[in-house]
């Protein structure tokens, strides 16, 4: 316990100052007893325990492996350069995903083009490999920003109650009246198409579910004795909320956020399919299906099968991982199969 000796013992806890005893006595006593904590009761931190439970879940690990493979292919599909400096020089994709080859339009799968080519002669395998960059970053960034909006608002609403709660939750109720995709479509109509506009629209739709979920949890967590104790010791509200209440209320939100990546990717792809996602022609999985219907009717099945399969595989893996995360961090959590899909 080397860090024990470095800790300076004070007689202050928050605003309360304890007087009337010599702190050095206690430090000495710690040294004199050869007391050792029983290894079996060592309380490891939350994340370590969760990870150990997660590791035992085989289907969740399969999901994680699939995601890892997809991440690998999409990172190494094309070189990555930031401000002219190449930080990832490899190029696994056989063709440039945006390059049209007018000599090979609408070709079926072959040795040169394993997934075929589309209506402008672009190699679909390369586009599927590269397209993961859009879907995956949209999923992760959207959920990340939505959490950073939804968690503080949900925590404030739940902890303080009163008019703060009333205002935030009425806003959530209003936004909940709009189905996910309808609201996202309306927002994109206002913001216009493009990567960051799409993320903004999705964040505005997604944050409400985290705020609502966390508020509910905070309502029950704040009744715990340790919160009362922290208050009695004079801890500030900010530190009570973010050090004691939120960490203990996060479990269902973490589960929901993991599954939420899948939901966001699915809906981003749907927007792409509707022609409201990124700029037309972007090698994003959903956008690749936008004109797929007409090719399909002409029998060119490969144009729609492979990008759709990529979306399906990714969302399925995220759901497998999400189920594993639920069992790991929120064991008593309900497994009803809400599965991150918001109505």
């Amino acid at each position: 316990m080397s860090h024990e000796s470095q800790r300076t013992t004070t007689t202050e806890r928050g605003r309360i100052r304890v007087t009337g005893f010599d702190t050095s006595v206690f430090e000495d006593r710690d040294e004199r007893f050869e007391w050792q904590q029983d290894e079996s009761t060592v309380s490891r931190d939350r994340m370590t325990r969760a990870w150990e439970r997660f590791k035992r879940n085989r289907t969740a690990l399969v999901g994680l492996a699939i995601i890892a493979v997809m991440l690998f292919t999409t990172i190494f599909a094309r070189p990555i350069a930031i401000e002219g400096i190449t930080i990832q020089p490899f190029s696994l994709a056989p063709f440039d995903p945006t390059n049209s080859n007018f000599g090979a339009l609408n070709q079926g799968p072959s040795a040169a083009h394993p997934f075929g080519t589309d209506w402008s002669g672009k190699d679909i395998l390369s586009r599927v490999m590269y397209g993961g960059r859009y879907s995956l970053t949209i999923g992760v960034i959207t959920v990340g920003i939505a959490l950073s909006v939804g968690v503080p608002l949900g925590a404030l609403a739940g902890y303080y109650g009163g008019w703060i709660d009333e205002v935030i939750m009425r806003l959530v109720d209003i936004l909940y009246a709009f189905p996910f995709l309808v609201l996202a479509i309306a927002l994109i109509a206002v913001l216009g198409q493009g990567f960051w506009n799409m993320i903004t629209a999705l964040v505005l739709v997604v944050w409400i579910s985290y705020a609502r979920l966390l508020r509910g949890e905070v309502l029950s967590v704040k009744e715990n004795e340790y919160v009362t104790a922290a208050k009695a010791l004079g801890a500030r509200d900010r530190s009570i909320i973010f050090r004691h209440v939120v960490p203990n209320a996060m479990a269902p939100v973490i589960v929901q956020a993991t599954l939420g990546i899948g939901t966001v990717v699915l809906n981003a792809a749907a927007l792409g399919f509707l022609g409201l996602g990124l700029e037309p022609g972007s090698p994003e999985w959903g956008s690749m299906l936008a004109r797929g219907r007409s090719s399909l009717i002409q029998g060119q099945w490969w144009i729609t099968v492979f990008p759709g399969l990529a979306i399906f595989l990714f969302v399925l893996s995220i759901n497998l991982v999400g189920d594993g995360v639920r069992d790991a961090v929120d064991p008593q959590g309900d497994t009803s199969g809400g599965a991150g899909v918001r109505e």
């Binding site: 399919f273 099945w301 979306i311 399906f312 599965a339």
Partner: protein
Amino acid sequence: MSLQRYLIKRLLVMIPVLLGVTILTFSLTKMLPGSPVDYILQFQETTPGLREQLRAQYNLNEPIYIQYWLWLRDAMMLDFGDSLISDRSVSGAILNRLPNTLLLGAMGFGIAIAIGIPLGVVAAINNGNTVDEASRVAALIGIATPNFWLGLMLLLVFSVQLGLFRVIPPDKAVLSPAMLKFVILPAITLGTASSALIMRLTRSSMVEELNKDYVRTAKAKGLSERTVIVKHVLRNSMVSVVTVAAIQVAFIVNGSVVVEQVFSWPGVGRLLIDAITQRDLPVLQAIVLMIAVTIVFVNLVADLLYSWLDPRIRY
């Protein structure tokens, strides 16, 4: 609290939400670049007089809150003005499409229930063994499949390759045999994800019920397994399923926007997408508002249904 008082309280809470929904819908379309007047004048000779006349017609000279009030007043009478594209009244255009969407939604919902509840019961009875595990995987697959992709795949296999269905919907009355046949594939597409959710929910609420004392009592007095499940367990576990099934309406609306696009189904969802691509603001406003108000009321019904089915629940 009695059911009546709960109803009154619940209705009062709805007022600010409905007001907020209308404000949001109104301001979203106000934020869209370009006013209806600019849009119309693209295709006409512009004279200052005409512009002024059009601005007055769309109340654009009034302060924004007056504009909102005038819009809200008309909207409550279901008068959303005329479409900018087709010169038809917006309500007329929506009412024209609504039966198709209702047919698709009802069929999709029916399929979701018809698949979801029986499979959920089977999974619950087999709690923990391979059948249960298989149903879990099936549900995950159902949830993870993008509905537009599923639709395209069904279209590919059953319409293009097997030729069992038409590729585009027949131009017939809603309940004609040809339409009822065509709607099968879109309805399956729409119902799949919902059926997976309903199945998981049925399973978990049945597993919970099966562990209760009354089940053991019923078995102990000699009732058959079948009677116990059908007459007692299923009935009790339906309480939460019914509520969630009601909430699935929002999910169905969501899906129908996409599915209608896949199958060229002439419903409200396609009208919405067309309104956005053509910047037809009155139509866009009316559809978004209609959907949101419907969902607010469906949620009300779900809440009331819940407290009516389970009298222990009082708020």
